[in-house]
């Protein structure tokens, strides 16, 4: 139940946390979204949007860490694949 999409916060309108809205850019399409659940959101943050509400501010450092882990895994696999290729006549 779960179609939530990331977008970049372009601007914020309103003072009242409950009715604060922001214009969010989803990659060429901009829609006004409620920021009621993300009082900490600032312009240029990336937010996750579901049915017109931002549910969270996406954490870039977590994302970077996750991809570093993946790259490491990919490199380990590549090292092993290279080793296998060098030790065998057949291309896997």
């Amino acid at each position: 139940m779960c179609l939530a999409v990331p977008g970049r916060l372009l601007s914020i309108a309103g003072e009242d946390p409950l009715t604060r809205t922001g214009r969010v850019d989803f990659g060429g399409v901009v829609k006004e979204i409620s920021l009621a659940f993300v009082p900490e959101a600032r312009v240029d943050d990336y937010v996750l949007v579901h049915v017109g509400f931002a549910l969270t501010v996406l954490d870039e450092s977590e994302a970077v860490q996750a991809f570093d882990d993946l790259r490491e895994m990919g490199e380990l696999l590549e090292v092993e694949a290279t080793r296998l290729r060098e030790n065998s006549d057949e291309i896997p």
Binding site: M1, C2, L3, V5, R23, F26, G27, G28, V29, V30, K31, V49, H50, V51
Partner: protein, 348 residues
């Protein structure tokens, strides 16, 4: 402004700037509407003759088609119901391998429609007809009660002269043929959705509504063996592919990465939970040509602005019959099918 106490005096109809029932009544009010709005907008000599019908002479086999247009809202980024009504019928004729020549126009107007809107739509139709090289030679106007027509409905029927020698239809398709898609998909459906009340979002996307006869005729006259053509409309790319596949005994295999979707259409689809393959288009088509002709066909199409992104997206295979399969980004294929009804935004 005087009230309705003065009875149905024909001289008053039209003074309020909206369409009234009298405008469809066949009397003075209607004549005035035709004289002041419709005929001047179309600027067509045949209409000035005021016949019940247009008398035309066309050599050789003709193609004949009709379509009705009920789009809501009437006006959206890049086009309106009038542009749609002309280009839609022009394109159906082009898909038959015909040079579009003459169109009829039937208006069903809702009581209360602003006359300025009718003026805008008729002006669009004139422009579209001029761009497409067709003439709007006959027509009809009716008015229905408030609430019965979403503003306006338009029917257009068209005739064209067949230019292709061989039959352009599914039965001409052969395994090994390539499938060419004339451009990027999804612009029309998204532009209409963006204009709908309640869904509104800011975007630069405009409808791709455009006439396709010029590149099609170029292909035919350029000696390309065009086996089949199909323009993409309400059901999107998916419906067009499935219709052709099911009408043949063959299958179609596509590469998803070759189907162009612009970033804005992609973003709108992600936001609303839509699949671009099922989003409406109004200025795109698929062409089935022999593999040997593919390169020449692409070159010809890319000379026209409306088809300058033409790309081979797949091939016709031996089977399974009627199956359209699409290979995705991870190398796994999935089936492309028609939807049961209209694609709706989802949250799930």
């Amino acid at each position: 402004m005087t009230n309705d106490f003065a009875m149905s005096c024909p001289l008053r109809a039209g003074d309020q700037g909206i369409i009234e029932l009298a405008h469809g009544g066949g009397g003075r009010a209607m004549e005035r509407l035709l004289d002041t709005i419709i005929r001047p907008a179309f600027a067509e000599p045949m209409l000035e003759r005021r016949h019940d019908g247009a008398v035309l002479a066309i050599d050789g086999p003709i193609a004949f088609t009709t379509d009705s247009y009920v789009v809501k809202p009437l006006v959206f980024p890049g086009a309106d119901i009038g542009t749609l009504a002309v280009n839609g019928t022009v394109n159906d004729l082009a898909m038959c391998g015909a040079q579009p020549l003459y169109l009829s126009v039937g208006f069903i107007l809702e009581e209360g429609l602003p006359i300025a809107t009718l003026g805008r739509v008729t002006a669009s139709m004139r422009e579209a007809a001029r761009t497409a090289g067709v003439r709007l030679v006959t027509g009809d106007t009716k008015v229905v009660d408030r609430g019965k027509a979403d503003g306006m409905f338009i029917n257009t029927a068209g005739v064209g002269r067949i230019v292709a020698q061989a039959a352009i239809e599914p039965s001409s398709v052969r395994p090994g043929d390539v499938v060419i898609l004339s451009g990027d998909i999804g612009r029309h459906g998204i532009s209409v959705m963006a204009a709908r009340e309640g869904l509104a979002f800011e975007t630069m996307i405009e409808s791709d509504c455009a006439p396709l006869a010029a590149p099609v005729l170029d292909l035919i006259r350029g000696g390309i063996a065009v086996h089949c053509l199909r323009d993409l409309t309400r059901g999107g790319l998916a419906s067009a592919l499935v219709e052709v596949a099911e009408a043949t005994d063959f299958g179609i295999h596509l590469e998803e990465k070759l189907v162009l979707v612009c970033a804005e259409v992609n973003a709108a689809c992600e936001l609303l939970g839509l699949d671009p393959f099922h989003v409406a288009n109004e200025g795109r088509f698929i062409a089935f040509v022999p593999r040997a002709d593919a390169e020449a066909a692409i070159r010809l199409m890319r000379r026209h602005a409306v088809t300058n992104l033409a790309t081979v997206i797949g091939t016709v295979t031996d089977g399974p019959a009627g199956q359209v399969a699409c290979r995705g980004p991870f190398g796994v294929s999935h089936i492309i099918d028609m939807l049961n009804g209209e694609q709706l935004p989802r949250i799930c």
